[in-house]
Structure formats: C-alpha cells, structure tokens
Symmetry: C2
Subunit: 118 residues, 2 copies
Amino acid sequence: MNALGKHLLLELKDCDKEVLNDIGFLKGALLAAATECGATVLGESFHQFKPQGISGVMVIAESHLFIHTWPEYGYAAADIFTCGNSVQPVKAAQILIRKLGAKNHSIIEIQRGILDTQ
Amino acid sequence: MNALGKHLLLELKDCDKEVLNDIGFLKGALLAAATECGATVLGESFHQFKPQGISGVMVIAESHLFIHTWPEYGYAAADIFTCGNSVQPVKAAQILIRKLGAKNHSIIEIQRGILDTQ
C-alpha cells in the first residue's frame, strides 16, 4: 500500500533554550536539515514572538518542514513532511535533534494520502 | 494534562479537482479558515507545481496551517496546528472540508508538547 506523503512529527524536549529563541540559528538549522536530506528549498516564513518563541516554515519542492519553539520549556515541535523517494526525512530529523541539543525526543511517523485509486 | 499545541491532520479525499490546482482559491480558503477560526495571519508561502499540485503554508500567530494538493487524485493533506485557547481549529477544518468539496475526509488530532514541567 503506497502513501503519497511521509510525515514525521518530532517532539524535541530538553533542548538548548538559547538556540530555541535564535531565529538566525533556527533558519540555518532548518536549511541544513532540508538540504542535507536532499530537498530543494522553495520558500520560508519565520516569525519571532515576544517575549520569546519562534515559528518557522520552510517550503520544499518535496513538501515542508516547520518548527515552533517554546524556549521557556526547552521544547520544540517540528514536522518534516515529504513526498517522493528522493529525500530522507529521517536524516533531516536527526540533524534537527542534534542542532537543537534535544536531550529527549520522540518521533511519530504518519503516512499521508493512502488512496484506493493509486 | 496540558498540551502546548493542538495539531489536526486532515486527509481530504474526493475533492473538487479544479480547486486543488487553483492557487488563488487555495490561498483564499486557507485565509478564510485562519481568520474565521479566530487566528491572526502573519505570513504565507504558496507554490504551484508543474504539471499540477500546490503547496501552501500560512503562518498564524497561533502556529500554522498548511496544505499540499494532488489534483490528479482529488486528494489534499492539510494540517492545522494551534496553540492557546483563543482559536477553534475544528472550525478551520470544517471550512477547508467544505471549500475543497471533500466528499470523504478523516481527521487525526495530536496533542503536541505534553511536558512534565508545565
């Protein structure tokens, strides 16, 4: 049974709190995760919240990566949604876990677009 | 047990194929979903693929909405990620289901950021 998309949901806990509030660092981390897993970046949208926290999305030709951070808890939610077989989303996940210094994490993988007509 | 974020994953099947390839329509649909559920739009990034298919992300103050469409299958994957209690993500989901003419759909709800320290 084939799925159109593979969706990884990352719970990143006990991260480096400083990097969770550093928009330049997070842009670089998502860019590294996207390019090193073989994706092509098409666009991005990042926002810094007050007093803290960042939301960022990177649209890739193979779907998207996003991150939302709560520096006060050392927590970030990140998603890696890919389609096709040319990219390795698990590699992107490993890069984010390492760059954010997440001492605890979990990953849920969900198949998207399982269709009868494929 | 409190979660920082509520994440709805929508599988939208048997949609109106024409609207799935209409970037203006999809921008309007996501904007309507965001605003009518009470969210504040901060930014967007939409891309049209050849020969068909659209990826679009709308960053909101309360997190994000995204959509990826496969017009050839009448299928779209959409996510609604919200934090706080000021928005009603289920209302946004209902708007997308209706606007895309999805004859079949499913919704998975995932709690994000369940922390021991909250």
